[in-house]
């Protein structure tokens, strides 16, 4: 009897769902609208997109639709596929690792925002011709679990010590941005000798996770006391979890910065609105949304950082490295590890 009831209920559900329809609805296209391609966490509920769209519309009257394309590389690949007939007007999230690819793809056109010179500091600019304009930036750092019983390492070289055997979680540079960031870091510090560093480091690596999410998940599950992430990660834990257990370690040799940029799509259908959006992103109105949603530093220095950012230590020394050099290092570093 019960079984029959369940079955009947299921059939009813089936019917309701089937005839309830499951088609998506596209909003109409008009002069006051624009489409922005971004990576997923930018568009998420707790990401900056909802608040940015609200403030942007209030200020300019333009209605911004954010479309999530997966990760930043997929934002670029989507735009590349649509190059003949662009659907998006602005690309958001193209960082220093992807800028060469973005340039080669030829999907963007330079646009220098009105306040660019004033707001964006020289060190974090992504392109001389403003093909991309950075809106936020952060530094990669080793994050340390102070509840573990080990001493925090004081440098990249320290990480190779036997006491850190299997204590470090990295991410694969082939599939993850922080993974590439760590590789860039070793290239910046060791130059051509990065291979021998990876050779020495090998014993300390517990695993190379495919993405930041699984790697950081292992870290907060206590699997290893060290992980590659951002200097701002502890700020998240302080703000949302009220704990200062996790510390970002500052190494005297310096840290690699990641700057995330936005660019105007070549042949964008709503170029005027797109330019207005890029301008808007550099105003403090937009910039102040970023720290607590992106967990990155806003490019504007006049924005007051939230208190929790006191947990994010500032590197004493910012390093840069050519992105071509980094991608050329991926295969060699991987084959050192594979041996």
């Amino acid at each position: 009897m019960k079984a029959r009831f369940l079955r009947a209920a299921l059939i009813v559900c089936f019917a309701v769902v089937l005839f309830g329809g499951c088609a998506g609805r596209e909003s109409g296209d008009d002069a006051k609208a624009l489409t922005i391609y971004a990576y997923d966490s930018f568009v998420a509920d707790w990401g900056p997109a909802p608040e940015l769209a609200k403030r942007f519309e209030a200020k300019t009257g333009y209605r911004a639709t954010f479309v999530s394309c997966g990760d930043a590389a997929q934002v670029l690949s989507r735009a590349t596929l649509e190059r003949a007939r662009p659907e998006g007007d602005v690309l958001v999230g193209i960082d220093n690792n992807l800028i060469a690819a973005a340039r080669a793809a030829g999907v963007l056109t330079p646009y220098k925002p009105k306040e660019a010179e004033r707001v964006v500091a020289e060190e974090i600019r992504l392109a001389d011709d403003w093909l991309l304009t950075p809106y936020d930036y952060g530094y990669f750092a080793i994050v340390f679990d102070s509840a573990s019983k080990i001493m925090p390492p004081a440098s990249l070289e320290d990480l190779t010590k036997p006491e850190y055997a299997k204590k470090l979680i990295l991410m694969d540079p082939r599939t993850s941005t922080p993974g590439t960031g760590f590789l860039a870091w070793t290239v910046a510090i060791y130059g051509k000798d990065y291979r021998s560093y990876w050779q020495r480091l090998k014993g300390s690596i517990l695993t190379m996770a495919p993405g930041w999410d699984s790697g950081y998940g292992l870290f907060t599950s206590g699997e290893a006391p060290l992980v590659i992430s951002y200097t701002t990660s502890p700020a998240y834990h302080l703000e949302n979890e009220k704990t200062d257990r996790y510390k970002a370690l500052i190494f005297p040799e310096g840290h690699i910065a990641q700057a995330e940029g936005m660019g105007l799509v070549k042949g964008a259908r709503h170029a005027k609105a797109a330019k207005a959006f890029i301008d808007f992103m550099l105003t403090d109105e937009a910039q102040s949304v970023l720290p607590l949603t992106q967990w990155m530093y806003p490019v504007s220095e006049t924005v007051t950082l939230p208190d929790s950012f006191s947990a994010a230590p500032m590197p004493t020394n910012a390093l840069t490295v050519d992105s071509g050099e980094v991608s050329a290092a991926i295969e060699p570093a991987m084959s050192v590890l594979a041996k």
Partner: protein, 575 residues
């Protein structure tokens, strides 16, 4: 008069069903073939065409010199060997665990039987990222098992360290996939005729001999078809292999991901997609040859036999031991996810590895404005997917039978036998890539199509193995007694295969409910469902909430499996 009217009405209904089935089949096949072809055709795209290999100038140091590409080729070959061996061992382990479970579930009545059966659907909907987290929480260096052992024996170092190794991959895959074997095998096992086994026993064969010589051959079709599903799943496994598979190793799937998703070298991606599909297809072909030979003499079905209580001390002991084993290795990691969902990350208390427990993360999740829509969307997409792929599977299986009836002497063409498993022989990264090219701005309709294409091989395996149980004599009798072949199918064969059909729907539901990759690839704008929500939560530090989200997903799938099993059983019993 009344009888004729009823017969006419029935015929009308039957033909409607056939039309629906054929439509579903076409949709499922096209939803696989078109994107697959699109992603492969990218490999041959002219460099000056619409899609330029952007990666040439950037990340693609690979092709810089001949020496480099030769080294690359060697590494890829080595990784192929690695992939094939881990997938083979993983499916062997899944069979080794799934077979005893199949026996107990099909033949014995014991407390927790229904729960085991319902829980066995859960892994299908748990995303691999969470599976790795589950295994780490349980077996990890600070995991439940090691903490317990270290505390109990006063050890300084964690004694269990297999996780980050070949063994770790195989064990995670084996336990993650054994339910596929369990479900496929048990639904055949409970309908095996009793007489032969009894005859063998009377002739003096011991229980193991009976199993080896009588039962096992009859189960071989179901074992093989579930093993090949597991094999293909493990062959394309990506996150589990990368997390546990030792550092620096590569696999075709990683290289494909890199080409399609980070260096944007679409030609390279297409080439790798082909290179990956060929060995996987070979396995499918091998399977279908083997499967044909084995299933020829393994038919035979009966109403489900009454399940007995475990008899004898040895059997009770074996059952208890087996359940404890399942609890430790399968339920343990899954329960760790449940526990993790209650962990409130905080430095203030120290009850569980420096964290405290509470409902905080659950309250957060449940109060999110997008949580309820996510649940609704998950079900709204998964139900049509289940419906389409099950209909497609039934239609295909019946068409296969019709072909066999029409040409009894001929072996059905290889293409026909391979077709239903082909979607599993193409990497989901490649399929997603093809979909991305086809439908740059997808909607729920495309999602349903794409997921149906992905799910229907699973559905077909379930339907096929239960249809194969029906003896030729029963089918002949049904044909004689019915007005048409169609009528025979609807009145006799489909009801006899009801367990498999219901199971097919549950499988497809779970596969759709747990899939985050296709919704992401299709860039569906405002669309939100549970796997996407989960993915977003884990991508932004919110791991406890992501685990809570997994629990909700697992509960939905568990309930569906439970309800479907009840439905299937009721139907099966009055046959």
């Amino acid at each position: 008069m009344n009888g004729i009217a009823r017969a006419r009405k029935r015929l009308c209904l039957e033909w409607t069903a056939v039309a629906l089935g054929a439509t579903a089949l076409c949709l499922s096949v096209l939803s696989f073939a078109v994107p697959a072809a699109r992603s492969v055709s990218a490999a041959f795209a002219a460099p000056a065409g619409t899609i330029a290999p952007v990666g040439d100038s950037v990340g693609n140091s690979v092709g810089n010199s001949v020496g480099d590409s030769a080294a690359m080729l060697l590494r890829i070959l080595a990784s192929l060997k690695f992939t094939v061996s881990q997938a083979l061992l993983s499916s062997a382990l899944a069979v080794a665990i799934g077979l005893p479970a199949g026996f107990f579930v099909a033949r014995r009545e014991f407390p927790g039987r229904r729960a085991l059966l319902a829980a066995s659907g859960v892994p299908l909907c748990v995303p691999p990222m969470i599976v790795t987290l589950a295994f780490v929480l349980f077996y990890g260096r600070q995991g439940t098992l090691n903490s317990f052992l270290m505390g109990a024996f006063g050890l300084k170092n964690p004694p269990i360290t297999f996780l980050y190794s070949f063994a770790g991959i195989v064990i995670a895959h084996g336990f993650y996939n054994f339910p596929v074997v369990l479900r496929t095998v048990s639904q055949v096992w409970e309908r095996l005729p009793r007489e032969e086994e009894e005859a063998a026993t009377l002739l003096g064969a011991g229980p193991f001999r009976v199993f080896r010589t009588v039962t096992l051959p009859r189960l071989s079709g179901a074992i093989l078809s579930s093993a090949v599903l597991v094999f293909l799943y493990c062959f394309f496994s990506f996150i589990i292999v990368m997390t546990f598979g030792g550092i620096g190793g590569t696999s075709l799937e990683v290289e494909l991901y890199r080409a399609a998703r980070s260096s944007l070298d679409f030609r390279m991606a297409g080439a790798i997609a082909i290179a990956e599909t060929v060995p996987a297809l070979l396995i499918v072909v091998l399977y279908s040859r083997l499967g044909r030979r084995l299933s020829a003499d393994t038919e035979g079905t009966r109403p489900p036999r009454p399940r007995l209580a475990p008899h004898g001390f040895t059997e009770r002991l074996a059952l208890a031991g087996y359940l404890a084993f399942i609890l430790a290795f399968f339920a343990g990691p899954l329960l760790s996810i449940l526990v993790r969902s209650f962990v409130v990350p905080s430095g203030a208390f120290t009850s569980i590895r420096g964290h405290s427990l509470g409902l905080g993360q659950w309250m957060l999740l449940l109060s999110r404005s997008n949580f309820a829509p996510a649940v609704v969307n998950t079900v709204r997409v998964a139900v049509p997917v289940a419906l389409i792929s099950t209909l497609a599977a039934v239609a295909y299986a019946l068409a296969e039978d019709a072909f066999r009836d029409a040409f009894p002497r001929e072996r059905s063409p290889l293409a026909l036998r391979v077709a239903p498993l082909a979607p599993l022989a193409v990497s989901s990264v490649a399929l997603g890539f093809g979909w991305g090219l086809l439908a740059p701005r997808g909607n729920a309709f495309f999602l349903v199509l794409a997921q149906s294409a992905m799910a229907w091989p699973f559905a077909w395996t379930q339907v096929r193995s239960s249809l194969d149980r029906i003896p030729q004599s029963v089918r002949d009798a049904a044909s004689l007694a019915s007005s048409s072949r169609l009528d025979a199918a609807f009145r006799v064969r489909l009801p006899l295969a009801s367990r498999g059909i219901v199971s097919a729907a549950a499988f497809s539901f779970a596969i759709s409910a747990g899939d985050a990759s296709l919704p992401l690839v299709l860039s569906m704008g405002k669309f939100e469902n549970l796997p996407l929500l989960l993915f977003r939560l884990a991508g932004s530090y919110r791991f406890s909430e992501a685990c809570a989200c997994t629990v909700v997903l697992a509960l939905i799938c568990g309930v569906v499996f439970f309800a479907m099993d009840s439905g299937g059983k009721a139907e099966g019993e009055h046959v």
